[in-house]
Symmetry: C2
Subunit: 390 residues, 2 copies
């Protein structure tokens, strides 16, 4: 088991000791990863892939398809701590080895969860359930639980536990952010009139791959397309005067990046400069304001108010940032809906995008870790409106 896996498991079991339930049933890929250190290749491919982990003070049971049993054991789990479902054949030189015996033990994940609960818990005990992670499966799981087991929705508890990051997590987030920034810088070095959005996106992805990251979203849009928010890069060629907007992220060992930068092809117009200065002022105000104890809602308000005071009004946003970790969006979201006070060790993307259809879009987005005295940036590249010589 790696030091990171160990530290995350300790964080989770410590939190469980203070929780109003005896066990935690993790279901989202990120929550299962936290609980076990195992990330399924199939789980990253298939929306319908199902996995769960039951965390108790006596240990953790992974519930997974038989096909995941081989890699899960390789990742450090014990065969006795797996409850599998479905059909997949691993042969073995040791006929008594666990995975060969796991085939067809349970028809589906619901039955396997029931078995895991029966093994680990007794009537009268209570499980905190990652209901959000189970999606539509929750009614079936609830119906199948053994008699006498109580449940409570622990979806938000699970993400709260993950909000304050370990040092190993911060290192991975910093690495993922650096690869996204490296991609943007490489793309900017290639940008000029005639080059396409897709060609620049390829540069970004190459940089991520070269550093050991997996590209996950590479939004490179230009001209009027820069106003489209999350749109795929197209064959559109850059032209003089274009806005060029990057919103890109990759995953490194399960941890995400999400970085935004904006450039102009040639000298920026007065309007481009004025508007960018306003959104940059908004993001800078967040950095100037942030410290432990400030609420996510306040961070939203300071961003919106500053952008408007700086002359871009009305500035309408549903959020101005979000937590980031083993999910790209983690609570607290920097929005009016979250009164959560920020804590030292939490990691955020702060962002102030602006999208005007028919004109263009711009953004600046950076990653920070909250510290006792304020914050530390995990991104390091030039945050100004970048100028591509043309």
């Amino acid at each position: 088991m790696t030091a990171l896996t160990e530290a995350r498991k300790t964080r989770l079991t410590t939190a469980l000791g203070d929780a109003p339930f005896d066990a935690f049933l993790a279901a989202s890929p990120a929550n299962v990863d936290q609980a076990t250190g195992y990330r399924s290749v199939s789980g990253q491919l298939f929306r319908q892939h199902q996995m769960a982990a039951l965390v108790t003070d006596s240990g953790t049971t992974l519930v997974c398809p038989v096909a995941d049993s081989g890699p899960a054991i390789d990742a450090g789990l014990h065969g006795d701590d797996l409850v599998c479902f479905g059909r997949f054949y691993f042969e073995s030189v040791d006929p008594a080895a666990a995975p060969t015996k796991l085939v067809d033990q349970h028809d589906d994940v619901v039955q396997a969860i029931r078995t895991a609960v029966q093994r680990r818990l007794r009537p009268g005990q209570r499980i905190g359930v990652d209901v959000d992670g189970l999606h539509g499966l929750w009614p079936a799981v609830q119906a199948a639980l053994p008699d006498g087991i109580e449940t409570v929705d622990a979806s938000s508890w699970a993400t709260t536990v993950r909000a304050v990051k370990t040092s190993g997590e911060i290192e991975l987030l910093a690495k993922a952010a650096a690869l996204a920034e490296d991609g943007i810088e490489r793309a900017l070095a290639q940008a000029k009139p005639g080059v396409t959005e897709q060609e620049l996106a390829t540069e970004v992805s190459h940089a991520m791959v070269a550093g050991g990251g997996s590209p996950r979203f590479v939004v490179v849009t230009s001209g009027e397309r820069s106003a489209l928010a999350d749109a795929a890069p197209s064959a559109r060629q850059l032209r003089h005067g274009d806005l060029l907007r990057f919103d890109v992220g990759c995953v490194v060992d399960g941890y995400w990046s999400d970085v935004g930068r904006t450039a102009v092809i040639g000298e920026p117009s007065a309007e481009q400069t004025r508007r960018y200065d306003a959104i940059l002022a908004g993001e800078q105000a967040q950095l100037d304001w942030v410290r432990p104890g400030v609420s996510a809602r306040e961070m939203f308000d300071v961003a919106v108010r500053t952008v408007e005071v700086a002359g871009l009004a009305p500035y309408r946003r549903q959020h101005c940032g979000h937590g980031i970790g083993s999910d790209v969006y983690e609570p607290p979201i920097i929005s009016p809906s979250f009164d959560t006070p920020l804590e030292s060790g939490m990691t955020f993307c702060f962002e102030t995008p602006y999208y005007q259809l028919g004109w263009g879009g711009m953004m600046v987005e950076d990653t920070v870790v909250i510290t006792d005295s304020g914050y530390e940036l995990l991104t390091h590249s030039d945050r100004s409106l970048r100028v591509v010589p043309a």
Copy 2:
């Protein structure tokens, strides 16, 4: 609208004309893409991203988050054909433009689907529903439908419609397959003792990215790890005598590849050669046997029987291939559960993997399109047990 989008929509509306329902409600990302030509960036990132498309003989309505409205219109949809939910702000130089008016029209996807149905259908009409694509959302959607609308589960109908590919789809599948093969060849050229699985996986991803593909799974495993089926590449260094197994795929414009090859570092042992010859014989038997009218089950049986006759017995598999297209696994699956007769224009991966824990794993997997006279391979690289000089 691209020619490919047009061809797919025609295929879908033609099939709808023969279906026992008046409209089709698509919900999985692949089915929505078929119906509309729109692929959401967020939809590829978030399991919980929700979208739907209602296809009728009078036109198609896309149900999507407001954040998707800008890129969807850019992709060729008309604003009047969108029903949106949630909050996201696009400003516009034209204040009357559609996306600026779409904010907060519906709280959630369920209410938006209800509105789409009300606009397109009248009481007494029947909808075929992509129930599988809706996952756990189906009960809520069903409860919210207007009175008098009948529904029928059309999940398998939807994938059947997509099974016979258009020429444009086959081109994209061929391109995606070529990028996967190029990645494997580049990695084989770098392979030697001391090189790590991760380093070779990076080579594979670079090749995919260079050709305009998005790497989706890059399973590069060696030595005993090659037996782990879908496992992430590790820092393990190649050693003399190792098996080296590739199972890799990328996406090109929404279409997948999935290619498998096996190598040995240095001269193969007699056992490695004997076993690989058996699985290659199994895959070759599939190619020799395949033609329109043969069932998926027969294709499974011929593979398993041939591997066993060739000396690798028992050869236990849950499947020996699968359809491939805008999902990496599409029905019919080459398994005992599918009696489906193969048709000209269907596209498949045929594969005969073998995993023995404690020894290693090997596979050969190729992509074919079924033709009137048999098949055409979309993969072209050497299928033999590859030898890496060491």
